[in-house]
């Protein structure tokens, strides 16, 4: 599965965000987009997901892809309970599969919370519902824009592990935006390090699961040195 940028230009409020962007991503696996705030990671992922067109150039994506998107906020609809929120993605495609919804809820540990409304859920539970909503469609590619940023450390680590297991289990591709080095190491197979806005050639860091995390973290820190304030 290949996603590529070809001569992509994008402006934002009369400022150049990307100019002559040319590189590609190869799935399956988890690809982290790491960089400081404002470097354009979220915009990159929106270009990849087709949510935003470039001003010029081409963003190549596999055709007919089943995709899911997980935002930083869960964006659950307050007037729908957990089951109905997770079912939303099926409903919008005129699909009817309550068993798939129940399974997705069970997979994220929310089977007992299906009748609760979002205002009755904790932050972690809302994010898990958001994950279930994305997973229920069985997406081939998942776009995650800092999905766990607002969560506590324990919940974050549990969900990172869950997400990684889900992606690797069925050879899916996941683009994961983060500005946490340790999170990138935890989740990803490959980390694209953007040091500044409009980085044309990000440094690519291959995560080695056989190496200890402290050594990898030190190497990654070296790569991104100077780019985070």
């Amino acid at each position: 599965m290949i996603f590529s940028f070809q001569e992509v230009h994008l402006r934002f409020k009369n400022k150049i965000l990307f100019e002559n962007l040319n590189f590609q991503f190869k799935g399956p696996g988890v690809i982290a987009l790491l960089g400081p705030s404002g470097c354009g990671k979220s915009t990159l992922i929106r270009l990849l997901a087709g949510l935003q067109p470039p001003d010029s150039g081409l963003v190549q994506r596999p055709i007919g892809l089943k995709q899911g998107f997980i935002f930083q906020e869960s964006h659950l609809l307050n007037w729908r309970n957990t089951f109905e929120n997770v079912n939303l993605s099926l409903e919008l495609k005129n699909l009817f599969n309550p068993e798939a919804v129940q399974k997705a809820l069970k997979d994220v540990g929310l089977e007992d919370s299906s009748s609760l409304f979002p205002q009755e859920l904790s932050g972690g539970m809302k994010m898990r519902a958001s994950l279930a909503r994305a997973f229920v469609l069985n997406p081939e590619v998942l776009f995650c824009d800092e999905p766990f940023a607002a969560l506590d450390e324990v919940t974050r680590e549990n969900l990172q592990k869950y997400l990684r297991d889900y992606i690797l289990k069925s050879s899916r591709t996941c683009f994961f935006v983060t500005h946490h080095l340790s999170e990138a190491l935890s989740v990803a197979d490959e980390i694209y390090c953007f040091k500044k806005r409009g980085e044309l050639d990000p440094e690519i860091f291959q995560v080695d699961r056989n190496q200890d995390s402290a050594t990898q973290l030190a190497s990654l820190k070296t790569k991104v040195r100077g780019s985070f304030l």
Partner: protein, 252 residues
């Protein structure tokens, strides 16, 4: 449910008013004391009852018409930007022209009596319903809209499953304003077309019966309060079935 500070304030106002009127500090011809206002009800209770019911009926009918047309218009305008750009200035025009100036025209079109009064009530309260509901339909979170677009939702699905529920609080706000305006429109219509509390105010003016004017105002205020209370109960009931209003303190 009881608003104790408000009740205490009302009692204090009534007592102070009676006291200062009795001492001669308030001219009774301009500010009749509460007991005189109350006595005016007792003079002709059936007349007051009929007038109140007539005004209430006309207000309800006018409000329901403005609600129906306002919601329908908002639905049509949200689905078509060219139509919205064409018709919204017209709706604003209707809002800015004073109803007291339009009312004589309505008498020519609908004649004297209830149809004119209802038309006046509907015209005045139409715009707040349209404007508030349209605003609610338009103002949805960008990320929620993107989520729907990402899953291939049609324009109709976005309207019914996202925009409409999101507009609940906005519609409620608009209807609260519209209730008051409905009453204003009804009274303006009654000034020219006759009937209801409006005609009592008009005849009291010619007879210099300020107590009857105050009595009418009291009943109009009561009508407004009852309307707002019923509106809140309806929206609370809807919220209980589906928590559309969970973003608001009023519904928590």
């Amino acid at each position: 449910m009881t608003n104790r500070p408000f009740l205490i304030l009302c009692v204090l106002i009534i007592i102070s008013w009676e006291f200062f009127s009795a001492l001669g500090f308030l001219p009774t011809s301009l500010f009749p004391p509460p007991h005189e206002v109350f006595n005016s009800f007792l003079e002709t209770p059936l007349e007051w009852q009929d007038a109140f019911l007539q005004t209430a009926k006309a207000t309800l009918a006018g409000h329901l018409i403005s609600l129906s047309f306002g919601i329908l218009a908002a639905f049509i305008l949200i689905l078509s930007t060219p139509l919205k750009n064409a018709f919204l200035p017209l709706a604003i025009f209707f809002q800015t022209v004073p109803i007291i100036a339009i009312a004589p025209l309505l008498v020519i079109y609908f004649g004297f009596g209830l149809p004119t009064v209802i038309a006046a009530s509907a015209i005045v309260s139409f715009f707040p319903v349209l404007a508030s509901f349209l605003l609610g339909l338009e103002n949805i979170e960008k990320e929620k809209l993107e989520l729907f677009q990402l899953y291939g939702a049609s324009k109709w699905q976005i309207l019914i499953k996202l925009r409409l529920p999101s507009a609940f609080l906005s519609l409620y706000s608009g209807l609260k304003v519209a209730i008051g305006l409905s009453i204003i429109g009804t009274v303006a219509g009654e000034f020219v077309a006759g009937g209801g509390l409006g005609s009592i105010i008009d005849s009291a003016r010619t007879q210099q019966r300020v107590d009857r004017v105050f009595a009418s105002l009291l009943l109009l205020a009561l009508l407004g309060l009852v309307g707002l209370y019923l509106l809140k109960m309806i929206f609370l009931l809807i919220h209980k079935i589906r928590p559309y209003g969970s973003y608001s303190e009023e519904f928590r």
